[in-house]
Amino acid sequence: MSTFLGMPAARDGRGPSPEAAPGTLSGVGRPEDPLHWGASFPDAAKAALDNGQLRRNLGNATSTIRTKRARVVGEVPDWEPLRDAGSAVKTDVMARLPELLETLERNVTARGGVVHWARDAAEANRIVASLVREKETDEVVKVKSMATQEIGLNEALAEEGIAAVETDLAELIVQLADDMPSHILVPAIHRNRTEIRDIFLERMADAPPDLTDVPRELAMAARAHLRRKFLSAKVAISGANFAVADTGTLAVVESEGNGRMCLTLPETLITVMGIEKLIPTFDDLEVFLQLLPRSSTGERMNPYTSMWTGVTPGDGPQEFHLVLLDNGRTRVLADEAGRSALHCIRCSACLNVCPVYERVGGHAYGSVYPGPIGAILTPQLTGEKSDLPYASTLCGACYQVCPVKIDIPSILVELRAREVSLAGSSPDTADRVWKAAMKAASFAMADGARFRRAARAPRLLRAISRNGVIRRLPFPGSLWTRSRDLPEPPKQTFHDWWAGREDGR
């Protein structure tokens, strides 16, 4: 699902922008592993924080969509019961996923579709590439899909000589700029409209040479470019928002209509879907088609909802393949504490309310899944050591807006515990220092008398306090005092004050 939120303007005017020297339009490049790339979160965040334009773009965009979401959610009288229903359906799905997947396979097959099972990214990419090769074409059109971003499908197809054309406006911008998406719903949220104009002029061969950065003109240029692709493509590749086990129906919700073109015009449709996207019955769509658009684009209803069930003779694609992707999902499912991350319907409401995401943007997370949901999903999918579980203040805003009530803060804490055990024998100095500090604090804080003595220690800092504050501490205290003062510790702790008061009685 994608939407057009308007594009922030860095400046107005026609012609190439003077600051855009050739090459600077290029994005972060396409990584080897779309779930783990770039610098550490703290380092990547620091770089993003230094980019004032990016912070303004993100601040404006997330605040606009937050407000829209709050308004349309506020008008639904049974929003909380809807969230409960969404959560209950997904919990049920995870409890009987194997059975439901087989039901889906049976029903898709019965309606003329072909189901493929992919254990990981490489297997999914191989399946899709061989299906496309069979059709003897070297170009496919794509509907915006997180699953295919996750497996790096476009790069895998390119190695086979197949060009995959993203047809969602924002995904097209990301692709043309050799960039990575920085938001689940609004992948080019980090770009302003002047950059987009420059990207089109430099990288889109049929862009009008007098293109301006007026959003309508940009959209029209993309539209003309894509229309030619829709009409010539023999194969389309999509993801899926939902798959109904009972009927074998697939559903894609979107805003631009590009998805509808891809899903109806080409002769062959290949859908790559994470195995967690299932819902048991067609009636369950009623819940999710209310929850998803209000949570994601802040609309009562998304403009286009496309559903298809197998193959319908004489109408739409005459060949349909469904690739069911695991890629770490069964590992997440096996983890009782973290499995509800699989309930996610990719609405991105948690990104838009997250105070960390709002300031650092999506690339800092080094995964196609950024923000709070990315911080719990990415490390679980990869099973690797990660600093993402710490990329949160645990403020709880994500949990409050999640349409399927994923308790992201609690899962973050679970994953932090996992990081600590992974770091157990780590030779990393920072890991060892943290461990030693936490052990010492645990000893001091597990007994009233020991704590009472330890609590007097900060008093020593009064020696370096000036005017009631401490402005500079040595490392690691410098991590604090670099941007904040520390107040002067008191002469007397509360423990000591109370003891004195009792003695005085």
Binding site: P42, P389, L394, V413, R416, R418, A446, G468, D485
Partner: protein, 267 residues
């Protein structure tokens, strides 16, 4: 009522004026305050940083110290912190359960069920919103994340503040946004934390308030550290300190921290 006070480790060591104000306030309202000396910390820092094994003895100590409330020796436990109350209510039993201590986990739940954050105790348990306080200053209130979203204290702190004689409550823009503290987040992701703090400080300064208040000294320490670093005159004060102030025993504002003439909290 006989009310046991959990001072919180950070306030005990760094901001004793807050638990002292709780004592003053509750005694003024006619209640008896008990301070179980065995207390140290609720374990939140360890849990939220992922050190669950190291959290166990800390949580055990807390549960042991406050267990008498479950036997009726005290009527309630009060905590002048939303996040510590949240940890007691939502994390302690989980930590003990995972450590294979189901009986202690049940004891933790029994203690947690009788544990209240200060505004909850005043409004829900004691049924007061006008505590007879006097504080003739312009004040803005930051609803801390865990008070707001973990405990759901709603507008209880604001109702208490509005009933304070002489107090002018200045609305805070983007009030529900996190200040960026997040415990060890402020060290592990110091730059992001500082960026969030910068925005919070700007909205606080925009209110024109003399005092910033909240129900958690941890968040106040963070925002207060940003306010004094920024050379602003806004003073951080815990909700309890404002509610403890009366005409007879007023809390007098000294010059702000870092301003050259340091404030000692008057009492």
């Amino acid at each position: 009522m006989r009310i046991a006070l959990a001072a919180t480790c950070i306030a005990d060591a760094m901001f004793p004026q807050a638990p002292r104000a709780v004592v003053t306030l509750l005694e003024r309202l006619g209640h008896e305050v008990v301070f179980p000396a065995g207390q140290a910390c609720c374990g939140q820092m360890h849990v939220n940083t992922g050190y669950l094994a190291e959290a166990v003895p800390v949580v055990q100590n807390h549960v042991r110290t406050f267990a008498p409330v479950a036997d009726g020796e005290w009527d309630a436990v009060v905590v002048p912190s939303g996040s510590c109350t949240g940890s007691i209510r939502h994390q302690q039993a989980m930590v003990l359960e995972r450590a294979g201590l189901p009986a202690e986990a049940r004891a933790a739940t029994a203690v947690a069920e009788r544990t209240y954050e200060l505004s909850e105790l005043l409004v829900d348990v004691l049924g007061v919103t006008d505590v007879g306080a006097w504080f003739p200053h312009r004040v803005t209130y930051h609803p801390t994340c865990h008070s707001l979203r973990m405990l759901g204290v709603g507008d209880k702190p604001e109702r208490l503040l509005r009933a304070v004689e002489g107090l002018e409550l200045a609305p805070l823009a983007e009030a529900e946004g996190c200040c960026g503290f997040g415990g060890t987040f402020s060290l592990k992701n110091a730059d992001t934390s500082a960026a969030m703090l910068q925005d919070k400080v700007a909205t606080v300064v925009d209110t024109g308030a003399e005092v910033l208040t909240a129900g958690d000294w941890s968040c106040l320490m963070h925002i207060g550290g940003g306010l004094s670093r920024g050379g602003t005159a806004v003073r951080p004060m815990h909700l309890a300190e404002i509610l403890a102030s009366t005409r007879e025993a007023p809390v007098v504002l000294g010059p702000p921290a870092g301003s050259g003439t340091h404030q000692e909290v008057a009492r």
